[in-house]
């Protein structure tokens, strides 16, 4: 902590820390832009926004779990399984009843799968009292395995054009479809977290489960609901990523778990629970995706990117600790 901050009042100091991330994110974009002007081209910015939007869903899923002082390591497996199952439903129904019904069926099954995975996680954590880390580690293994077995390990092709067009290529409300979706979902999530009773309960129980229980709140129910919400958000992300790739991929989410945690924590969610707004996954995913795209543009070896993400993770956690200490 720089000395100069020591004498500022709590509020101001908090505000400074709040501002740090947007400034760093912006600085990163400007920095890359100075070295490589292509970074700030309209096409690239649209690309970053689109990738960031897809990533936002997973980071948001992680945020909801983090608020309850939990984890959701199964978001990646959820994305994979949703991608496979939704694609299978979509192709089957499309053959039988046309593309519109197919897309609807695919989306419905995808969301259902996400909700079921979330409910299983939630039941294990809230009612089974199993440590969320191990519970979701195990379900990650189970659902990841399911997605490879169901698909036989091969991608599922022949998705209806309607689907890939509407959810990837099309522009909704002057923005690429995934970005519009992310903004809408982000706003809805923000409303739920900040202005509804269930959202408030998540923060309270994440901060102190005993106090929430003594205040008559339904701790276990809400904990379970948090994981359902997390599963649904991951499912949405999985559907959009499937639309982007154009096929159902059994390994779609495998490498996204780490990044999702990194983005949420760097953005300001706390591992100690009870903290973080929608801004956390939003800014966090912009930072992580921006770095990744920028490094690609600078032709930095793709294999070094995990090294950067790992460093961000540790720095984010250290930053989180700093925030807790300065309070």
């Amino acid at each position: 902590m720089p000395k100069s901050l020591e004498h500022t009042p709590i509020r101001q100091r908090d505000a400074l820390l709040q501002l740090a991330l947007p400034v760093i994110t912006l600085g990163m974009f400007v920095g890359f832009g100075l070295v490589e002007p292509a970074m700030l081209s309209a096409a690239n910015v649209a690309n970053v926004l689109k990738q960031g939007a897809l990533f936002f869903f997973l980071a948001a899923a992680q945020l909801v779990a983090l608020i309850t002082r939990g984890f959701d390591l199964s978001v990646g497996a959820c994305v994979s399984l949703v991608s496979v199952v939704a694609s299978m439903a979509m192709t089957t129904v499309t053959v039988a009843a046309g593309p519109i019904a197919g897309v609807a069926a695919g989306i419905a099954t995808g969301l259902l799968v996400g909700a079921v995975i979330g409910a299983i996680n939630g039941a294990l954590v809230a009612y089974g009292k199993i440590n969320p880390f191990v519970a979701t580690l195990a379900t990650m293994s189970i659902f990841g395995g399911l997605s490879t077995t169901i698909s036989g390990g091969f991608p599922i092709f022949d998705l209806p054009r309607t689907f890939t067009f509407a959810f990837n290529e099309a522009w909704w409300l002057f923005l690429p479809a995934p970005v519009t979706m992310a903004v809408l979902v982000g706003m809805a999530l923000h409303f739920v977290l900040s202005s509804t009773a269930p959202g408030r309960v998540l923060y309270l129980l994440g901060d102190s489960p005993a106090a929430a229980h003594a205040a008559g709140l339904r701790v276990r129910l809400h904990l379970c609901l948090a994981y359902v919400a997390s599963g649904l958000l991951a499912a949405l992300g999985g559907l959009l990523m499937t639309a982007q790739i154009g096929s159902g991929e059994p390994n779609l989410g495998t490498n996204l778990v780490l990044g999702s945690i990194a983005a949420a924590v760097v953005g300001g969610a706390s591992l100690r629970g009870g903290k973080g707004t929608v801004l956390a996954p939003a800014l966090g995913s912009l930072l992580v995706i921006g770095l990744s795209v920028g490094m690609n543009l600078l032709q930095i070896n793709g294999q070094l990117q995990p090294v950067v993400i790992g460093a961000i993770l540790i720095l984010g956690a250290a930053f989180d600790l700093l925030r807790a200490r300065t309070r």
Partner: protein
């Protein structure tokens, strides 16, 4: 006397599945043998034993970290990094004209250096930096696997000295794979640490009640840090042995070992809250999982199903532990 006291003196703690672990192991062996007599062939049994050895070594390290109340997510990546590091060092040193035992020892020691660094990094960030072990090790995992992939550039490192492959990879003593002896040595050393030395108790004390341990004058930071270093070094050893077995330095080696090591530890009754864990149970648990996996292979169950089964087994194990501690808590 003392070794007997280990088993006799202590009151049993309800630790879920652990009490039934030997029984489950025997049952798994008997059922598999009945279903598929090929299970009992010497070659197959040696195979099971070899797998269990790899698992035991890496899970023993995981156990030490869990005893001090943490997790080590980076073990798998350390295996990969060590594999790449050892292979590079061996090829490099062989190029200098070194050979025989000297090459072997120097190459392996050089290969362990990155593991040691990762371990120290984990340990210091957790114990001194007070950062969540989960975040630290997930971060170092990302860094270590990224570095391993970067150094290989995506293709395995071939051309390892034949002596290395013959001794560490395929070496046998009295018909038993050399790996088994390495594992036995590690297990014995940890058993000695846990049951016969002061230090072993301090690891448990730090994980059981850190504040009380500090008040007693135990340097809790040292023990937390040491646990991560031990874990990384054992992961490194696993990496070297696996490299010798596979015959090349690979950046994808050990991808499943993180999950498996945590599974083994959880099934062995190592508490997620810290303070509890015995290396003997790690051995039993590793054997159990290896038999289970072998049985599924013999039954021609697709390897894709194995992860699912492991996930379910882990869930049952933690669930049993959660129930056990709750029952204990309610009548305390």
């Amino acid at each position: 006397m003392t070794s007997l006291a280990l088993f006799r003196g202590r009151t049993a703690v309800p630790l879920g599945l652990v009490a039934g672990l030997p029984l489950m192991l025997v049952a798994a062996c008997v059922l598999t043998a009945l279903y598929e007599p090929r299970f009992l062939r010497a070659a197959n049994l040696m195979n099971v034993l070899r797998n269990a050895s790899f698992l035991s070594v890496i899970s023993a390290g995981q156990m030490m970290v869990m005893i001090v109340g943490g997790f080590d997510i980076s073990v798998g990546a350390v295996v990969a990094l060590t594999s790449v590091g050892t292979a590079t060092a061996l090829v490099f040193l062989a190029g200098w004209g070194l050979s025989g035992i000297g090459l072997l020892v120097l190459g392996c020691l050089a290969g362990l250096v990155p593991a040691l660094l990762v371990g120290l990094c984990n340990g210091l960030l957790v114990s001194v930096g007070r950062i969540s072990p989960f975040m630290v090790t997930i971060g170092t995992m990302s860094i270590a696997s990224g570095l391993a992939a970067h150094f290989t550039g995506g293709s395995p490192i071939y051309g390892l000295p034949p002596f290395f492959l013959e001794t560490l990879g395929n070496g046998r003593l009295a018909g038993v794979p050399g790996v088994v002896f390495f594992a036995a040595a590690v297990v014995l050393a940890l058993w000695y640490l846990q049951c016969q030395s002061r230090g072993g108790r301090y690891f448990n004390a730090v994980g059981g009640n850190e504040k009380a341990a500090r008040q007693t004058g135990i340097d809790t930071r040292t023990y937390i840090c040491a646990a991560y270093v031990i874990s990384a070094l054992l992961a490194g050893l696993t990496g070297i042995l696996l490299t010798a077995r596979v015959g090349s330095g690979e950046a994808t080696l050990g991808a499943n070992l993180m999950l498996q090591s945590i599974s083994v530890a959880v099934i062995a009754g190592v508490s997620l809250k810290g303070g509890v864990g015995k290396v003997q149970n790690i051995v039993l648990s590793s054997l159990f999982l290896s038999v289970l996996s072998n049985a599924m292979s013999l039954a021609r169950i697709d390897s894709k199903y194995h992860v699912i089964v492991f996930g379910v087994v882990v869930l049952i194990a933690v669930w049993a532990e959660a129930r056990g501690t709750r029952a204990e808590g309610s009548d305390a």
